[in-house]
Symmetry: C2
Subunit: 330 residues, 2 copies
């Protein structure tokens, strides 16, 4: 194939070359050639819809690899679907590309989307590409399906329900710090593991689906455990008590905390974890833990839902206070 | 209520104050308080999905009123639904607000969205608000419904079908020119009419729905009549012959063309018209024209679909050539 050294493809050619192939699996996308897509929603299913916007320099680093930016864009949206118990089906992508972006960047970004669709499921069905004088800005709307009436909500937790977390937290926050030049004392493989959590989170789709009928409330952790626990409790009109020593940390995070290189509370507020935080009635705990083993997803019982509307962290029986509650956009 | 003179509300407060009230009509939006929305798709309907991204300085002027930017954002998406014969139901809004944006701007923008929902139908059900160092960037995903299997497509035109247009073209292009200081010789009311076409296009939802089962192909004109006719013909594997004198112009556009203030071909390529261009089999012409009168929507028979894959414009029987075919993003 000839290389086009100067001219960027037109919007139409870009879509045809890089994005239309991603839409092949869904006939209703019409190969991205029509005004809109026609989506066949399955009988007996509710459609679940979420959208996230990622801005270069805010939600990812300008020099993050395009493949991982694509994976993260898919993952953060699919994580929202997972927290409702829904599986991904359709994606709409709106990309505002900075003028002068390299075509090879767009090609690599599309490769990342393809890899993400293969890994997580779902299919691109439409969207928009425009040019901007500002930073790269990517919006994905993800549509998923859940059996009618079975979507998980943030609002169903009851006092006495047990609080669970699906994996370790704080790693994405530490991964960002590694990319900013911190934690040079860690081994290469450890730094790489943290960077991977930051760049390519894995949405808990399988667990989310398994929690239907089991969890009383569920949320995915994007703003940090402390902030998202607050959201879940506010929507459920409850409080919670969390035992700090039960919060799972990766070996890397544990090592950095124990050496005083990072404050524990920053792991609670760093965000970008994309683990599921959920509540389960006591009588369903055994069923949950058995199911979690069978699908190979770790779950950790970190505390309990309380009636009084406050969130208490306890360490060795003592109440501890943290002042930061999460990332605020404004 | 106290005025907060310095601090911008948090992302959560902004959503609660300005956007959640727009989501009230749809219980499945959960008041924008959950990870995703659960959308009840009606039985017997296909879901139609489209997304458009508008960037300040590219798709609207930085000093356009926030209310009209909101209306345009809704209108350009609903126009895509209309061209498929679908009625709007759900909107997802992703807004990247420049740091330091006035809260009053956001309030006025939300007022515009409210006015648009009342005018066009549909309901906000979710989205994302983030901050950006770049220009204001707004992405809307619009979901509509159409009876199963009845969506209009670009691809169904057949040789001999008559080509129709739903209203005058070029006015939005002239409206932008007026905002750029041109056409000062027009009267105030004329300039205002052109600006209105640019800032607040009206999607042809009623006509789109009426065309189901009547039109063989349909597209909405966003890139200009010449370019979008080309898209329709390419997707239908046909050509077309258009009689230039039958293309409807507003009194303002006609006056500017006749005085040589604007070239006719720029009206064909200016874009942003958001009229419907569609083809109708000859035997359904009477039915179409009767229906158009009954719903109060003007339609104009501007030409005919041809077998040969070329688009010919004729003026008084003579073939005329235009060199620009539409707005290219890159």
């Amino acid at each position: 194939m000839l290389v086009r050294p100067m001219a960027m493809k037109s919007e139409f050619d870009l879509i045809a070359t890089y994005f239309a192939p991603l839409a092949k699996a869904e006939p209703g996308s019409f190969g991205l050639t029509d005004d809109a897509a026609v989506l066949p929603v399955s009988e007996g299913m509710d459609l679940v819809s979420t959208a996230d916007c990622l801005v270069s320099g805010v939600h990812f680093l300008p020099y993050d690899p395009p493949e991982t930016i694509a994976l993260k864009l898919l993952a953060v949206n699919i994580s929202d679907l997972a927290s409702m118990g829904a599986a991904p089906r359709f994606f709409m992508l709106a990309a505002a590309f900075p003028r002068g972006i390299e075509e090879s960047w767009i090609a690599a970004f599309a490769d990342g989307l393809r890899a993400g669709q293969q890994k997580f499921g779902g299919c691109l069905v439409g969207g928009d590409t425009v040019s901007t004088d500002g930073p790269l800005t990517l919006t994905l709307t993800a549509l998923g399906e859940v059996p009618k009436g079975q979507a998980l909500r943030r609002s169903g937790a009851n006092p006495g329900d047990q609080l669970y977390l699906s994996g370790t937290i704080g790693d994405a926050f530490l991964g960002l710090q590694v990319l900013q030049g911190k934690h040079a004392e860690l081994q290469d493989a450890q730094r790489a593991a943290l960077i991977e959590r930051y760049r390519t989170p894995t949405p808990r789709t399988k667990l989310g689906a398994a929690l239907r009928g089991l969890a009383s409330a569920c949320i995915d952790i994007s703003d940090g455990l402390a902030a998202d626990l607050k959201h879940l409790c506010e929507m459920s009109s409850t409080g919670a008590e969390v035992e700090v020593e039960k919060i799972p940390l990766s070996p890397e995070a544990r090592s950095l905390v124990s050496k005083g290189r990072v404050e524990f509370q920053h792991l609670l507020s760093g965000g970008d974890d994309y683990e599921l935080l959920f509540s389960v009635p006591k009588e369903k705990q055994v069923q949950l833990e058995t199911l979690a083993v069978s699908i190979g997803c770790p779950v950790f019982n970190i505390g309990v839902v309380k009636e009084t509307a406050e969130i208490i962290f306890k360490d060795g029986g003592e109440v501890v206070k943290f002042d930061r509650t999460g990332y605020r956009h404004f």
